[in-house]
Every structure is written in structure tokens, then in C-alpha cells.
């Protein structure tokens, strides 16, 4: 259920990018305000308190941009899906090949179809092999 909600949030983030940026800013400003109040309680002047709060928070704009980018990111990891995608592509290519083999070889178009299907099958195999090679970096 949470994953469904995360997907809904992802779609919402893409549809309402300005609203999301405003929400992120409001959340971060709340944090700085709370820290400012805490600093005042500890005896700082309001100006000192605000400055200290901004310093302890770090780069406000960088954090805001970073949060907005994460919010717009995919709600799931693509890596585990990659192998499934290649298998699906290989099955599709295999299916097309079988279908094409059954077409009579009496014209140029059918031969081109067959060559195309073989190329797709080979391509899927090569791309799959390259992307699933163990990485050493």
C-alpha cells in the first residue's frame, strides 16, 4: 500500500512541480524557524539566532533543489527491473521470429522481416549481455 502511495506521490510531484517546490521550501523554512526560536531561548539575540540557524542548516537552496529532485525521482529501483525488461524483449523478439518464419519466402518484404527479427533478437541478446556483466568499479 505504501508503495502505491509512493507512486501516486511521484506522479503528483511531476504534475505539480511548483507546488512541490513550495511545500519543500515551507518545510525547510519551518526547520530554520524552529532552530531560530531555540537559539533565542538559549539567550541569543533574534539576529544572531537567525544567522546561527541558517549556518547550522547548511546551504538552503542546495537542500531544496536536492529534495525536489528526489521527489521527482522514480519511486522504485530500476536495477532489479532491468533483467525482466531484457527477458520480455527477448521473448518478444523470439515471438516475432517464429511468426516471421511462417511467412512464405516468396517476396523481398518477407525476407526483410526475417532479417529484422534476427537483428532485434541479436540486439536484445548483446545489450542484455553487456548490461548484466559484473561490474568491478
Amino acid at each position: 500500500m505504501s508503495r502505491v502511495k509512493a507512486t501516486v506521490n511521484f506522479i503528483h510531484a511531476w504534475q505539480h512541480q511548483d507546488k512541490i517546490a513550495d511545500e519543500v521550501e515551507a518545510e525547510l523554512r519551518f526547520h530554520v524557524q524552529m532552530r531560530t526560536h531555540a537559539n533565542i531561548k538559549e539567550g541569543m539575540s533574534p539576529d544572531e539566532a537567525q544567522l546561527a540557524a541558517q549556518e547550522s542548516f547548511g546551504d538552503f537552496d542546495r537542500v531544496k533543489v536536492s529534495c525536489c529532485e528526489i521527489k521527482r525521482g522514480l519511486p522504485f529501483d530500476l536495477e532489479p527491473m532491468r533483467m525482466g525488461l531484457y527477458i520480455a524483449l527477448a521473448c518478444l523478439a523470439g515471438g516475432v521470429s517464429l511468426w516471421v518464419v511462417n511467412i512464405p519466402h516468396d517476396n523481398v518484404l518477407s525476407i526483410l522481416w526475417q532479417l529484422g527479427a534476427i537483428a532485434v533478437l541479436m540486439g536484445a541478446f548483446l545489450v542484455g549481455r553487456r548490461n548484466n556483466r559484473p561490474r568491478h568499479d
Binding site: 505504501s2 518545510e27 525547510l28 547548511g58 537542500v63 521527489k71
Partner: protein, 110 residues
């Protein structure tokens, strides 16, 4: 001589956030405060870096958020742990214990 504060290892912040939210829903500022409190102010976290961590955890559906009113009557975003987040916390704790135990063994070896 002042005591040096420990920096956080990669992934540790995520585990600490999950652990903090196990105690109940909190806004970002509260989470930072509670982490400082439970670590006895030993863990140094740049306050802003907490938020990308929170957004990453929310994207993974380990936590979820909603806007509510804070203790000082301001609108604030509160985070809470999901069921998937609880499971993840158990995994993270086990991994951490394994890593800490292996590191201790290595350090004690002659």
C-alpha cells in the same frame, strides 16, 4: 581537549531516521533533535542533510508524511514509519550489528 564528534557513515543516517520514527510521528526538526538526544550529542549531522534523507526514505515507501499542526501551532510536515519501514529497520539493525562485530574482531586481532 574537546571531544571530537563522530561523522556519519553512509546509510547510517537512514537507519537513525527509521529508528527515531519508531517512537512515533515527528517533523524534520524534531527528528534531528531526537537523533542528537539519543546519541548524547555525539553524532554530528548538518541539519539540512536530514531532508534529502527523509525524501529518499519516503520515495522508498519506508516512511510517509502528512501536513499537520506543530506544537507551536505552525503548519509542519510530519513523518511516520510504514510497515515496510519497520521491516527495513530490522534488516538495517542486523546488518549494522554484523558490520560492527566484524570490525571489532578485525581490530582485536593481533
Amino acid at each position: 581537549m574537546s571531544k571530537a564528534k563522530a561523522g556519519l557513515l553512509q546509510g547510517t543516517l537512514d537507519m537513525l531516521i527509521l529508528k527515531t520514527l519508531l517512537l512515533g510521528p515527528l517533523h524534520g526538526y524534531g527528528i534531528g533533535q531526537r537523533i542528537a538526544q539519543i546519541s548524547g550529542d555525539e553524532l554530528k549531522i548538518e541539519e539540512g542533510s536530514l531532508y534529502p534523507g527523509l525524501y529518499r526514505l519516503e520515495r522508498r515507501a519506508w516512511i510517509e508524511s502528512e501536513w499537520d499542526v506543530s506544537e507551536n501551532n505552525q503548519r509542519a510536515k510530519f513523518y511516520k514509519l510504514t510497515r515496510a519501514g519497520r521491516k527495513q529497520l530490522i534488516i538495517e539493525e542486523q546488518n549494522w550489528e554484523r558490520l560492527a562485530s566484524a570490525t571489532m574482531k578485525a581490530l582485536r586481532a593481533n
